[in-house]
Every structure is written in C-alpha cells, then in structure tokens.
C-alpha cells in the first residue's frame, strides 16, 4: 500500500474541509482493499470514526434514521429495523460476511465501488478508474456486468445489496459538505455512468453522508429480498430483487421494487410499481412487471443469461411478497 497522511477529526466541519486527493475512511472494508490493489491512491485519509454518526433513531413522522457510521451488523440487528423494515435487515444479511458487516458502515455501503474485475486491475483499461482509457469489460469477460443503465464508457454493476432494499423503500440520503447540508432520494444518489463513469454518485468534494432516512412504510410480511449468486453465501448478486407490497384483500396497494446485480445503479422503474398497484397478484401481472423493469436491457458477450434469469427472479420475488413468505437468508431453499 502507498503511504498517506492520516487524520481522525472530531468535528464534521473539520472533516468536510479537507485537501485535494483525500479519501474518507469509515469501516474501510472496501477502501483499504482498493488501496492494497493500487486502485485508490489517496494522499490523505480522513478517518470519520470519531464522529458521532452511528445512532439509529425513530423520526417524529414514524420513520427511522440510520446513522451513516452505524455498522451493517448493528443496523440489521436493531429491533426497530427488524420489526419495521425486515426487508432492509434481510438485504443486509444477504450481503458480505459477519466479519465484514461488523465493520462496514451504512454510509460506506452507499459509497462502495464496483467489483468489476477490470476496475480492480490497474493494468487494464477502465474509464471508471482511469478516465479516457476505455472499457475492458465491453467485449471482455463480462458475465457479472450490468445489462441496465450501461453506456459505451462503462458496464460495471453497482454491487450493494443494502442499497437495493433502500431504493425499494424510497430512503433519503442526508449529506453535509463545505457548503452546508442537503438531502437526496436514494434513487437519485447513484449516477448512471454515461460518459463520466468515474463519478459513481452525486457526492461533491468534501461532502459526507451523515444519515439515511426510511419513510414510515409497512408491508407486514409482504416483502422479500431474493438474491441469486454463484454460491449460496458471501458472493455478489448475479440478480437480486427487493420487493414490498401493501396487500389489502388480495389487492396490491402500494408496490415497491428494486433490482440489484443487473444495473449500473440500484435499479428502479416507477412505471413497473404503478403497473402493480390496484391489481390482483397473478403470474401474468408479475410477468408484465418484469418486462417493464427490464425495458432497455442490453447484454454483452457473457451476460445474456441475466436477461433470462432476471424475469424469473422478479416473478418469484413478487410471488413471495404477495404470499407473505419472505425469502430466508439462512434456509437457502427458494420457495
């Protein structure tokens, strides 16, 4: 690892005012790995761990505020999360391993980088890592790459499970920077690669994620996080779906759905949600929703299977949510 200067400020204001070539350190489970691989080469590392941003607390509107520095493990195990947002707890537990979740933070989860093999290899061309060098993934070994939201410059998948649930739940991200505070819907936080794939999200220089708000929203048992991957544990999604349905007398009220493993960002299509609302669950309805969610999908050399797999995962996830039988992250059988 290259050398860098290190500081651990105890105020957010100090943390926001940092020199160029700074990286913020939270749990470090992604950043330190990227520094070892020589993908990230910060001159300064500003450790956020002395800031008090790890609370998980109820909001006056009945929603929940997740501190950016709360660990994934503490978030998934928090009684208010398991009671009110089991979809989020399930998605968190579907990702990484217990040791990683004990360090990884909620803010860090939003800001993690892609696991594209070419991004991780400094010898390969990659527009996300080294702007203007090209995209080795296009036409390369790209079985794990995205089929939605891609561009000529980049087809890397956004790897998070947690963010797929946060997108389905319409979470809001709170930021603090040198110019003050602002809030952004999670669905708008991550960017499409377009011709600037090195910008993963809308964070500006010196801005820090301080917390994530969940709106008051209950699906009862009508939710699921269904993740398909190459092995049953500790692997990134090939396709995943977070779904929540408010069911009233076998009619779908509000519908929330997001996809992971297929998009360059957590993938949501409001038209697919609208299409489900006010309808009675049926295989054909879920097929229509799948078609709508996957509109515009583009496959490359090795990842056409995702286009076959994705509708099946969407339909299965919606069936699980409608039936009120969420996928267990321990018992791996998919019903």
């Amino acid at each position: 690892m290259r050398q860098f200067s290190y500081s651990r400020p105890d105020t957010l204001d100090t943390a926001c005012h940092t020199p160029d070539h700074t990286r913020y350190l939270a749990g470090g489970t992604n950043l330190i790995d990227l520094m070892k691989s020589d993908v990230e080469r910060p001159e300064h590392v500003v450790d956020l761990s002395a800031l008090s941003m790890s609370q998980i607390e109820e909001r006056p509107d009945g929603g929940l505020r997740l501190g950016a520095l709360a660990t994934n493990a503490d978030t998934a195990a928090h009684p208010l999360v398991t009671e009110r947002y089991p979809l989020l707890a399930s998605a968190i537990l579907a990702g990484a391993s217990p040791q990683i979740r004990n360090r990884a933070t909620n803010g860090g989860n939003l800001n993690q980088r892609t696991r594209c093999h070419y991004f991780y290899d400094p010898d390969m061309a990659c527009n996300k890592r080294s702007p203007g060098t090209g995209c080795s993934a296009k036409g390369g070994r790209n079985r794990i790459m995205a089929i939605l939201g891609t561009s000529d410059a980049c087809i890397a998948t956004f790897p998070s499970d947690m963010c797929v649930a946060l997108a389905a739940l319409n979470a809001t991200v709170h930021l603090t920077g040198p110019e003050g505070e602002r809030s952004v819907p999670l669905r708008d936080y991550h960017r499409l690669p377009e011709d600037t794939p090195w910008q993963d999200n809308i964070l500006r220089t010196g801005e820090i994620v301080t917390s994530i708000d969940l709106p008051p929203l209950s699906f009862g048992s009508h939710h699921t996080y269904l993740k398909i991957r190459d092995r049953l544990s500790f692997a990134f999604a090939i396709v995943s779906v977070a779904a929540g349905l408010q069911m009233e007398n076998n009619t779908i009220g509000k519908a929330c759905i997001a996809m992971g493993g297929v998009g360059t960002k957590p993938w949501c299509v409001p038209e697919a949600e609208a299409l489900l609302e006010g309808k009675t669950p049926s295989p054909s309805l879920f097929r229509d929703a799948a078609e709508c969610l996957l509109q515009g999908a583009v496959t490359d050399r090795d990842n056409a299977a995702k286009l076959k797999l994705a509708p099946r995962v969407i339909i299965r996830a919606l069936s699980q949510a409608a039936a009120g039988t969420p996928q267990s992250q321990t018992q791996k059988t998919i019903f």
């Binding site: 050398q3 290190y6 651990r8 450790d47 493990a73 391993s97 217990p98 040791q99 360090r103 544990s233």
Partner: protein, 168 residues
C-alpha cells in the same frame, strides 16, 4: 484533530496487555500483529477480506484484521487466538476443534476458531444451516467444514449441559 504525520501513534490493548507503538498509518491490524508484535497465530491468507484467516475480535466483535488500519481503532481491545486460553487451559472451542478433527492443514483454523467464538456470543446457532451461513466469512481450502460444524455443535451442547447443570 490528530496531527497529519508520517507515523501515527497507535494505542491498543491486545489480549489484555497495553500496546503503544508509532507506526505508519498504512499498517493494517494484521501486519501490526504479525510483523511488529510477533503474534503470528493470526494468519494472512488472501489479505483482501475474503478468506477469514485473519479474523480477530475487536471490542468483542469478529472482524477481518487485514482490512483495518491499526491506527484507526484507538484504545480498542483486540483478542487474538493467543489470547483465548486461560491458565494454560485451552478455550472450549479450541478443544472442540481438536476433538472433532476440525482441520487438516490448520492454516484457516485460528480464524475459524475466533469466528466461532464470536458466533457463540452472537447467538446465530439455532440450526446447522444458520451456523453454516454465519461461518461463511471463513474459508477452508481443505474442506474441513463438517468437522468445524461438529466442533461448534459440541460447544453448544456443552453450554446447554452446563446451563442445565446450573439450573438443577
């Protein structure tokens, strides 16, 4: 705010003993343990957070020491495999790994044992499937997984017996 400098002070408690050392901030907890403190029980496998051989406890929680800058956990209590035994007696989990032949080459074993000790504290031990899932951060290239599961179940059974004994 801590001074920005080439080396930074690192202050920890490791297996109950205070440790103060000036190190470059790039030194991971794993490299601090192995290269500077001669605590080589903690193993370096992948060095990328995937294999779990470097698992230690930080403030009682299991973590991958290869992905932590040692300077970033001031005053933390670190427990390594060397810190598990008491009065020359192996920890029950260490004994169970021996009893159940839960390893072949032994390289992943310290990480497996640290992870298993933390797993017991977390309580994710209701079914064999649950134990499997919550041990998924530790890889064993020899494939001793069944023995590892048996060892963990042996300790669970012992604890249940001990509790029944106390209640009686």
């Amino acid at each position: 705010m801590t001074d920005v400098s080439v080396t930074s002070p690192c202050r920890l408690r490791i297996n109950g003993e205070p440790c103060t050392i000036d190190i470059p901030p790039s030194v991971t907890l794993l490299d601090l343990l192995r290269e500077r403190l001669d605590l080589t029980g903690t193993k370096k496998g992948c060095d990328h957070g995937q294999c779990g051989a470097c698992t230690v406890l930080v403030n009682g929680k299991r973590v991958k020491s290869c992905l932590i800058l040692a300077v970033s956990i001031p005053d933390a209590e670190v427990t390594t495999i060397e810190g598990l035994s008491r009065d020359g007696q192996m920890h029950p989990m260490q004994q169970a790994f021996l009893d159940q032949d839960a390893f072949q080459c032994g390289y992943c074993t310290p990480g497996q044992i640290m992870s298993a000790v933390a797993l017991m504290e977390e309580g994710h031990v209701h079914t064999r499937e649950e134990i499997r899932e919550f041990m998924s951060g530790n890889l064993c290239r020899c494939g001793a997984y069944n023995g590892i599961l048996d060892a963990i179940e042996q300790v669970i059974a012992q604890q249940q017996q001990d509790r029944a004994g106390e209640a009686a």
